[in-house]
């Protein structure tokens, strides 16, 4: 798990003056499930295409197994891609789509046959080899696309928003299956998505990107619990983001009140972003709370209630299992370790 499979060193991509990737340094380890996560236009797909060999970086190097592949064309690279809209060959049936790469390699017939059947079994499409592509459902096409890419036995599979076109239920199923395949095969998956939930469920490592710059690299738990800036916090789940000032170590002021927190190492009176997750806010009686406010709206979400509570001029988003009526006076309180302090992101301004 420790060996680097892919290294990006100072990779920059410039599309006619628009910087899609800005000096990216990143390594991807053997056998990990790494997700590139970010809003559209953040450069995640461009990064994937540079690794696959469809785009050439304006500056920087891409190493696969320690070898510089910057000038190696896509068809000679040991990685394979599952495309966004599958890009299955409409003139070939399921079997021939999966066999495409093996036929190019001039593998013998028996081997091709064995491999294709193995792949069909893996994606649970046994017996559909003779079907033509347009007779398949979206979910089945997705499975063929995965089987086609895996038939080539790549060291690394690149997946470009592969589940984007599927409905919610199918997407959940495929998430679990992709994870199973990755563990079964023990190869590296690089997965591009803009869906944070998908990233959190499947990944070993998440790379959060914005405007061609990496914002944070970490495990799903790290990224969720310790977002490094307001952007990451906001992108990974819903958050209350407030402006505050670190008056001293372990003490922050916002909304005109002082709070204990667990962060230190800031300059005296440094302006910061304060992030509080909606589920970390406790509702208590107005007299007890540090802040008190009025419930503006309450919506039942299935497991919890989502409430908007106005306090000291800020509208807090609160998730709670107990319901408060609209117009009710409530007190808000939070534990010191639920207050996340972040440096103001200069790039984001």
């Amino acid at each position: 798990m420790s060996k680097h499979l892919i290294d990006l060193i100072g990779v920059t991509k410039d599309f006619d003056g628009e910087l899609a990737l800005n000096n990216i340094d990143l390594y991807i380890r053997n056998g990990e499930f790494l997700t590139l996560l970010g809003p559209s236009g953040c450069g995640k797909t461009t990064m994937l295409r540079i690794i696959a060999g469809f785009e050439t970086a304006t500056a920087g190097k891409v190493l696969i197994d320690g070898v510089d592949v910057s000038s190696v064309p896509a068809y000679k690279r040991k990685v394979n891609t599952v495309f966004q809209k599958y890009a299955l060959f409409p003139h070939l049936n399921v079997y021939d789509n999966i066999a495409f790469g093996l036929k190019i390699k001039k593998a013998d017939k028996a081997k091709i046959d064995r491999k294709v059947n193995e792949m069909l079994e893996m994606v649970e499409l046994q017996g559909l080899g003779k079907r033509s592509i347009d007779e398949l459902s979206g979910g089945q096409q997705q499975r063929v696309a995965i089987a086609r890419a895996l038939a080539n036995e790549p060291e690394c599979l690149l997946l470009d928003e592969p589940l984007g076109a599927l409905d919610l239920k199918l997407r959940k199923e495929m998430q679990i299956e992709l994870k199973r395949m990755q563990q079964q095969l023990g190869i590296t998956f690089i997965y591009v998505t803009h869906d944070q939930e998908e990233a959190l469920t499947m990944s070993d490592t998440i790379v959060v990107m914005r405007k061609g710059v990496i914002q944070q690299i970490g495990t799903p738990i790290d990224i969720y619990n310790e977002p490094q800036n307001a952007f990451v916090a906001d992108f990974i789940g819903e958050s209350n983001i407030l402006s505050g000032v670190m008056t001293e170590d372990y003490f922050v002021e916002f909304l005109g009140k002082g709070f204990n927190c667990v962060d230190k190492g800031f300059e005296r009176n440094e302006p910061v972003d304060v992030v509080i997750r909606p589920e970390d806010i406790k509702l208590i009686s107005p007299e007890e709370g540090t802040l008190s406010g009025i419930v503006k709206s309450t919506v039942f979400m299935g497991v919890h209630y989502e409430m908007q509570i106005e306090a000291a001029g800020f509208t807090f988003l609160v998730h709670s299992t107990s319901m408060e009526d609209e117009g009710a006076h409530v007190g808000l309180s939070f534990f010191p370790d639920d207050i996340h302090i972040m440096r103001k992101d200069k790039a984001a301004e």
Partner: protein, 276 residues
């Protein structure tokens, strides 16, 4: 008023000027000039060996011209489809532009070039060749056909190549295909519908033309189109020309529809096949 009645005026028009005329052709082909009784004489006359040799010549010239159009047109369409969209738009416009000029003027242009005193012979004369007899040859007819119908080959192929998703090509590269393999295994098979409609759009007018053969081939190279035209306008109704001409037209029509059937059949076969 129901919306489907909107089609009524056209349906009347269609029955009178599309359906009925086809039936009339068949009627003339199978009846005698004098008595209007049923006969197979016209068909027999149309199958005369002399006429069949003309038919054979027409088919071979049309096949030659179609093949040349394909060999020239496919690379043009392919190169254009790989260009920057702005350059491709201008160049494809340039390839279509001559089509907007009148068909007769395009054919006439070659008369002036191929003439014994024309520019080509003049240029050849400068290097000590000629003058060659270029006009009134089969070559001149083929040149005229290729010149007139080449855009009909380029256009459908270009359209289909341009619409081909880039991801299909990238997927092939991703799976290890080099540029030659990408072309033979993905681009070519996927562009087949464009090739087929290009072939039809060139072959059908080539096999039935009579203006090109008259103007560039002189009177020696009678093609099937000339034959039919002569039956109608030179032999005339009174001498049974309309009946034989109708029979010849029927043969031609059957031939064209057989060609369409074959290409359609090919197209369906291909959906799961591998070779072109």
């Amino acid at each position: 008023m129901k919306r489907k009645y909107f089609a009524t005026p056209y349906l009347a028009w269609m029955i009178v000027l599309i359906v009925a005329p086809m039936i009339i052709i068949a009627y003339y082909a199978f009846t005698g000039q004098a008595d209007g009784a049923f006969t197979l004489d016209n068909i027999k006359a149309a199958l005369d060996p002399i006429y069949m040799s003309v038919l054979w010549r027409s088919i071979s010239l049309a096949v030659i011209s179609t093949v040349i159009c394909l060999v020239l047109g496919y690379p043009i369409a392919y190169i254009l489809s790989r260009m920057k969209p702005s350059t491709a738009a201008i160049l494809s416009m340039l390839f279509i532009l001559p089509m907007w000029m009148n068909f007769l003027l395009r054919t006439y242009a070659w008369m002036t070039l191929l003439d014994t005193n024309g520019l080509i012979n003049r240029l050849l004369g400068l290097v000590g060749i000629g003058p060659l007899r270029l006009m009134n040859t089969q070559g001149a007819v083929v040149v005229g056909m290729v010149y007139n119908y080449l855009p009909f080959m380029i256009l459908p192929i270009y359209n289909i190549l341009q619409k081909m998703p880039k991801a299909n090509i990238e997927a092939a590269q991703d799976l290890g295909a080099n540029s030659k393999q990408v072309f033979t295994r993905v681009v070519l098979p996927l562009s087949r519908p464009g090739v087929i409609s290009g072939i039809i759009m060139v072959f059908v007018p080539c096999i039935t033309t009579f203006a090109i053969s008259r103007l560039l081939g002189g009177s020696q190279f009678m093609l099937y189109g000339d034959l039919i035209e002569t039956q109608f306008l030179s032999v005339g109704q009174a001498y049974g020309g309309w009946n034989v001409g109708a029979a010849l037209s029927c043969i031609m029509m059957v031939l064209v529809f057989i060609c369409l059937g074959i290409t359609n059949h090919f197209d369906k076969d291909s959906s799961g096949g591998t070779l072109i």
